[in-house]
Each structure stands twice: as C-alpha cells, then as structure tokens.
Subunit: 269 residues, 4 copies
C-alpha cells in the first residue's frame, strides 16, 4: 500500500507545483493515500485557507497536515471543524483546540490513521508530543488500526529521530517536516517503521526556505526587524517521499524520497 | 579539482568508519583536498584530542574542521596552536581565541583556503559569521586565493542557506555540518558556489545523532537530566560530499553527496 | 496567618544565612508557615540532599520547594518519596515523576496547601503549568482548602505575572523564584492574591546569581565552556517575603519583602 | 551629581505618567541629568516616534535610551540621525546602524557619557556588548570623561550582573531595563559603580509587563498566535532610580529606587 507525502507547500509557487506535478505523480505512482503538508500554502507563506485546502484536495491530496503556522491565517478557524481531512498538530494545548490532530481513513476496507505532531525544541510551547502520541497510538491499536502515518513537524534532527525510535514498530511511517530541506536518510527502522527526517518543501527553490533571500540576509546582518516575502520568481521545487506499507502488519517495506526541480526534472516512473 | 568532505565524525565508530573507508574513497575518487569535521571525534562524542587529530590526518584528511564542540575536550588548548591544519569556527569571540578559523593550502601551486564558520541561531553566542566571513573573503581575494571551501556549522536550514546566498560567487563551496543528518539538496548556486545544507555525520547510525537512543527518549519524556552516551553498537554511517571546483575561476562545476551505510554499501566508483 | 518565604538558598553560604537568620526571623515575625526554596542548596549550587533538607527543616522550614535544579543532585531520588515536606515543580512531565508538587498542611486546624510550579519560557520543556495548576486548585477547593501558597519558579516576568493574574482570587499568594534577584513589586492583586515576581536568593551576594563572577564574565567574553563555582567568600544575602493571609477567605491582607545583607543588616522587628 | 533614570515608558499611560510626575520629580530631586528609556513609548508599546521623543524631552528628559524595540516604529529611521539625545543599543551589528549608542553631555563643564547596551541571552543576535563597551569605555577615559551612565537592556539577571562586575570601577552606574519589573537590589559595587538589575517600567500597572493580561494568559494557555494590546485602563506606575555620582572620580556615592503607583503615591521629598 503506497503512501505519497509532499512536504510544506509554500505560497503560490508551491500550489502551482502541486497542481502541475501531483496529478502526474499519482498517475505514475498510483499511491493509495496522498498526504500533503499545507502549513505555508497561503500567498504570504503562513497558514492555509478554505480555497487552498480545497485546491490541494482537488489536485489529489487525501489528507492535508499542518504545523506551527497552522493558525497564522485566521480563516482556518472558520472551516477546520467542518472537515476531518485537514489536521493540525495533535499536541496543541487546551481543551478547545479547533480541529483534530488525527484523521482516520478507510481505504477499500483497510483502516488508516494519519497523525500530525509538533516538536518542542526551539519551537512554540506545546504539550509533550511523546506522551500524547503514545496514548493515541495505543488507542488506535485498540481500534484495530494497523497502518499509522505520522507527520512530525519539528526543528531538530534529534527530536525527530528520538520520536522515530520511540514509535518504531508501532507506526508505519514517520516523516518530518518544517525545515523545508529534504534529508537524505530514508530508512526502515529495526522494528519496521519507515523514517525520513525531513521531506523538504514544495515551493520556490531559489530563496531561503521559500522566502526571497535578500531580506533574510539583511536580517542576519542587522538584527533589525525586516519584512520577509515569499519568493515568486525563479525555479520551483517539489519535495516528498513514497512509502510502501504492508497492509497485513502495518510495517513499512520500503521508502524513497521524491524530488522535482531544475536539476531533477520530472520523469515518468 | 575535487574536494572530498566528511561530516561530523562521532566517537570510536566514527573514527573506525574514517579509517576503513577514507583510504578507499581517496583511492577511487582521487580528491586533491580532503576535509573532515572532527568536532565529535572523542570517545564521548565531544571535542577532539591530538591523537585523534593525527589519526584523521593519517587516514587521509588534509584539514580538520570543528564546531560548537571544539572546546569540550580541554586537550585542544595544548595543541591547536601548533598546527594550522586543525581549524575552529572563525567567529568565536575574543582577541585570544586559540587556533585559527582558516587554513591556507598550496596544492601543486594552486592556492586554497578552508574556512570554518559557526551559526548563531539556537547556538552559542558568537560574533556575526556573516560580517566576519565577508571581511576574510575580501582579504583572501586580495591574496589572489580563488578557491575557498567553507564548513558552516549551524543548526537551522535558513541560516545556512542565507550564508550560501551571501557568499554565492565569492567562495567555491559551502557545506553545512552540525545536524548530523545529510540533506538531499546539493546544488550549484546561480553565481557558481556549490552548496549542501548538511553533510551529515560519520559514526553510529542506529542512535539519535550518534548517541544511544534510550536516554535521549527518556530525556524527552521526563525533562530531567540524563547522561547521554555515544552509541557503540549497531551499524555505522559515513556521510559527506564530493565537489568539483574549477581551478581557473574557483567556481564549482558539480557536486554530489556521499553516503555509506548498510543500505548504501561502499561501491568502487 | 503569616507566611514566611525564603528564595533560592545557594550553597554553603546560603545554608549559613538560613541557619543564622531564620531562627531570628521566626522569633520576631512568628510566621505560622515557613517555606524555603532549596533548589541550589548543595555546595555546588545544584540540587539538594537529605542532610541539607533536614538542616533546613531543623532551622525552621515547614516546607522546602525546588525548581529546575531539583534533579541535579541524584541523592534526591533516594529520599524525595519518603517525605511530603519537600516538593518539586508540579508540572514535570511523566507518570512516574519522583515526589510531589503540592504539600498539604494542617496548621492548628487550618488547611493549607503549598504548590511548586515551573515556568516554560527559556526553560526546560515541562507540562503546561497553567493547565495543571488550574486542575489542582479546583481539586483543592473541593477539599475545602482555602489557603494556597504558590512558588512559581520561572525566568520571565511576563510568565510569572500572567500566572498571577490567572490565579488571582483562587490562591492566597504567588511568589516567584529562579532569577535570584528580588523584585520590588510586592502587591495584592485585585481579587486578593499576594504577588511578588521574585523573592530573590539566599546565599553569596558578591558573585553573579551566586557564582564567582570571573568565570561568568569569561564565559560571556569567550562563549567557550567554563566551570562555574559557587562563591564562598564575601558578603551574604537573605531574600524572601512575609505575607499575611486571612484564614477565613484565604485572601492576602498584606505582604512585604525581606532582605538581609550588608546594606540591610538584620533588625529586630 | 544626581542622575534620575526612568525605566521603559510604555504606551499612552506611560507617557502620561512621565508628563505628570517627571516635572515634580525634577523639582524635588533636582537631578543634573535625567535619562528615560523610551523603547515602548508608542501607543502600541513598540518603538518611539519624533513626537513622543520631543514630548519626553519637553517633560524633562536630557537623554532618551532604547532597547530591542528600538526599530519597531519605522519613523525612527527618519529622525534618529538628526539628534544625539536619542540613543539605541551600542552593539547593534553592522557599519550603517542608524543613530548612536552613546551620548556625550557637558553639564556645567562636567563631561558625562550615557551608553545604551543590549544583552544577548534570550534576545536578538547582536554584537558582543562586553567587548564593545570595553572598547568604548577605554576611549571615553582617553577623552577624560569620568562620568559614564549605562542603560543595559537585557533579559537575564546573570548577564546584567556580569556586565556590572565587568564594568565595576570603570563606569559610574549601570541600570538594567527590559523586564519591566523593578528589582530591589540597588547597590554600590566594590569598585564604586552603582548597580540596579532592572529599573522597572513606567506605564500601565495592571497588565502583564504593560499589556492587557487576558490575551497574554490565552497565549500561554493555547500557544496559538494572539494580538497583544497595551493596557489603557487601571492604575499606572512610574519606575526608576536616583543615583548620586561623585563629580571628581566618577564613582557612585549612593543610589535609591523610585516607584510611584497606587500603593506608593508620590510624596514630595
Ligand atoms: Fe513550513
Ligand atoms: Fe513549520
Ligand atoms: Fe556535531
Ligand atoms: Fe555541532
Ligand atoms: Fe535557583
Ligand atoms: Fe532555578
Ligand atoms: Fe521594554
Ligand atoms: Fe525590551
């Protein structure tokens, strides 16, 4: 059972890359489940709105995940409770967090759960993702859900790998997001969980994690406030991965990264 | 002119991987310059000592770079001023910082400089790496040094990419270290500088950035102090890259990542 | 009903100040409850041990509170579960945290609870102190405990004041610790809770938050690792506060800071 | 020679407190030099503009200092270079930082320098305040300036005290700002420098460091973005200190904190 995952979609160019390549990828790779991280989908690169969410679904996403930018576009509060296909990090604190952190799917009779988590190191203060996912995974197992896919939105390599070892054998796959740069470490952990530290981003390739680079450099040089803008020119990149999960035991059989940019043009598989 | 770079060598297993594979890599790839980041070379994964430095040189390194762990093994103060082949981040503050942040080589008549920088986001407070490298690169150009290789030891993808854009066209290559996970974004920037966000680490593959994973998970679960130890069992990994630089103009012609582990066994090129 | 509170006792000089002045303070002020923060009581300024805890109790403490250094002396694990008079921050994560975060007393028939909390801004990742104390205070009210004293161990003024406003009218007093410098803002909040941002420390006055100053300055100047040691010479300081709480409704009637050092010698009240 | 210092003026209520009480304080205390930190003077509590700067000067300030919010109101770039009486932290990086970090005065023939510094712990990345002030103080001594007053805008007690010990005997006074809560530790250091960890703020007393408290609590409870607004109702506070400096040797003779709020109404001295 193939899972296709695309990392943080950034701005108009990111939406355009999804629109152009996701249908091709789905046609060629025929994934049963497609998950897209949309935390930077708006024009300004912060948050998502209903129109963009619908566009991602139309382009081929089954589930859209988020991250620390989940709440930056306030429209989200208007529609996140109306859908169970757009999930925000599970471990946001409080009893009244809008939306959910887990989406359950039934794929031709096979139960699947997609979880969105957020790390804490060098990030906003949220509830402990380790303790919370532990409880949820236990619950999902009781519901006889064997296939669990985790988008772990976090800054550091150590927190993501620690989470992966923590969940090894209990979830099917854990893929990191947030750094906007794809890592080269797709692996199947000892107990059968697929792991990739970061899927990378889908959007403008020529800036700094999606933003035009000159203001970012100026910020580093001056430490004075500066307006950052999503890069709208130059080349685009689409980053993600494809993970093959065994329907019977929920273990990952193999995984590979996906990268489309000017140096790696799309090739029919 | 080929540059071979190996990312953070961690503990005994890291030293062993270098000892086993660096000679093979040098035999096959025939790099003119080999650079190894040794900031985690000691048994405890923090700092380096004279014996380990010499071992890395014997195994094939021409220059050894460091990072935020440069000072963790106090023996460094005894010998870093005796060699110009072991460099620490250029931008450590103070007038009396032991060692140097730049190493100049003469490779069959071609002048080469290797620079070690350290980022500041989520790291120790150091002097501004942007301002300082700007000054040094200007000086090196005056000395007619065209080939400059930078090891940028930093946490975030944004600071490394911003530095790369800042130096694009002025240095030959900038390779990141510190996260211990190789990124999949080797590229030649518009003005001719090769860039890789992180080379990844050389050491134990099965832990969390080189440390046994159980105490790291426990630390995340409890937030109480915990002793971390370098992983000594399981599989090893060697991570790095190979960058081809044009002797005439100092621009990078091409680059590729290097990865040796159980999923990617060493293959003669 | 008078509550006497002493801020972070640091090292031998801190223990000496308590030994010398706490009996005098108790004799003169006749507090019904005395609370001492002992997170830095060991010779090295990190953590506490059984002997020091007993000494603080002998010198006059009824309850000893802790903070982020609670776990730095490993002896704590041997005895914290044997007493309910030594409490650690309530919001340390996990189901098996040694010790408790709340101590209940019966003072001549009046029920009293002392709570230790830890902030999260610029500190270790712990569970949300707001959500957790909210639940506990609700529970204590059900137990008909009207008098609640909170030691909020936190770095920033904003987190402490926010907690104070959050608890205003529901607890009797909230006193901050951790910065080791007494603030000058003792106040009764609108709903009747006494609040002091930081009680200050009890220990060596001439260093930097209790440590000899030269290594601290060197650390700021070099960003290289450095051993800090508790100052053992020079003048001492004792910092704390006295808060008068109405037994009937649990509201604070008045509060004042207490400070003994060379500029403010002890004076019989 | 008396120096009057007022801590961070916040919003309209802060400006109002200055307007109401600074003339009274100057009439009664007759300071030769009055310094006001104005980094939060605008209605929104971030930055300053020309009108507010002029108002502070009209109300009695001789020099206005700033902090990390110096650049938040963009009007500053229009006028900071036209006056030498408004200074920003000396250690902002870059060669083209607008404004200056030091103001020199001639008070009836006595040379005085006022320096504004910014700390780095838990704050923006700036150049090393220790190294930079060291150089400037050396230069001022060469110019035969004996009286130097430092506003050290910083988060932690340790960085401020370390700076104070670093400068002890070389400057007349160092007063901290930024935490918005006055500390109770005014002291004369061994070599003759007056030191106060934080002067506290001048503005609305009933919020959280000047902001209405409900959104701040909500932010702590949810970790979701939230708009903070300067408190405009309730009681005000004016915080500062008065330091007496010996004209002959530049050493501080004595210092005391100043606090005006509902619990400490203004009293003619
Ligand atoms: Fe993102
Ligand atoms: Fe993110
Ligand atoms: Fe490293
Ligand atoms: Fe490092
Ligand atoms: Fe403490
Ligand atoms: Fe503490
Ligand atoms: Fe301020
Ligand atoms: Fe500030």
């Amino acid at each position: 059972m193939e899972f296709l995952f695309l990392g943080d979609v950034v701005g108009e160019m990111g939406m355009h890359m999804v629109n152009e390549y996701l249908p091709l990828l789905k046609h060629d790779l025929k994934p049963q489940v497609t998950i897209v991280n949309g935390e930077n989908a708006t024009k300004v690169g912060r948050g998502i709105n209903l129109k963009l969410f619908k566009q991602l679904m139309t382009d081929g996403a089954d589930v859209v995940t988020l991250g620390n930018h989940a709440w930056n576009n306030e429209e989200i509060f208007d529609f996140i409770n109306d859908t169970d296909k757009l999930i925000r990090p599970l471990n946001y604190p409080g009893n009244d967090v809008p939306g959910k952190g887990c989406c359950k799917l039934n794929i031709n009779g096979t139960k699947v759960a997609v979880i969105n988590l957020q790390g804490r190191i060098f990030m906003e203060e949220t509830d402990d993702p380790f303790a919370i996912v532990d409880k949820l995974v236990t619950q999902l197992k009781k519901e006889n859900i064997k296939i669990i896919f985790v988008d772990m939105h976090a800054e550091t390599t150590s927190e993501k790998k620690a989470m992966a070892m923590f969940l090894d054998g209990r979830v099917s796959a854990i893929v990191g997001t947030h750094t906007h740069v794809q890592t080269n470490d797709m692996q199947i952990l000892p107990q059968g969980t697929a792991f990739l530290t970061d899927a990378g981003m889908t959007g403008p390739n020529d800036g700094v994690i999606g933003m035009t680079y000159q203001p970012v450099i100026k910020k580093f040089l001056t430490s004075r406030p500066n307006r950052f803008e999503v890069e709208t020119k130059g080349n685009g990149i689409l980053s993600g991965c494809l993970i093959d999960i065994d329907k019977k035991d929920g273990h990952a059989k193999k995984g590979k990264t996906i990268l489309i940019n000017k140096d790696h043009p799309y090739q029919q598989v």
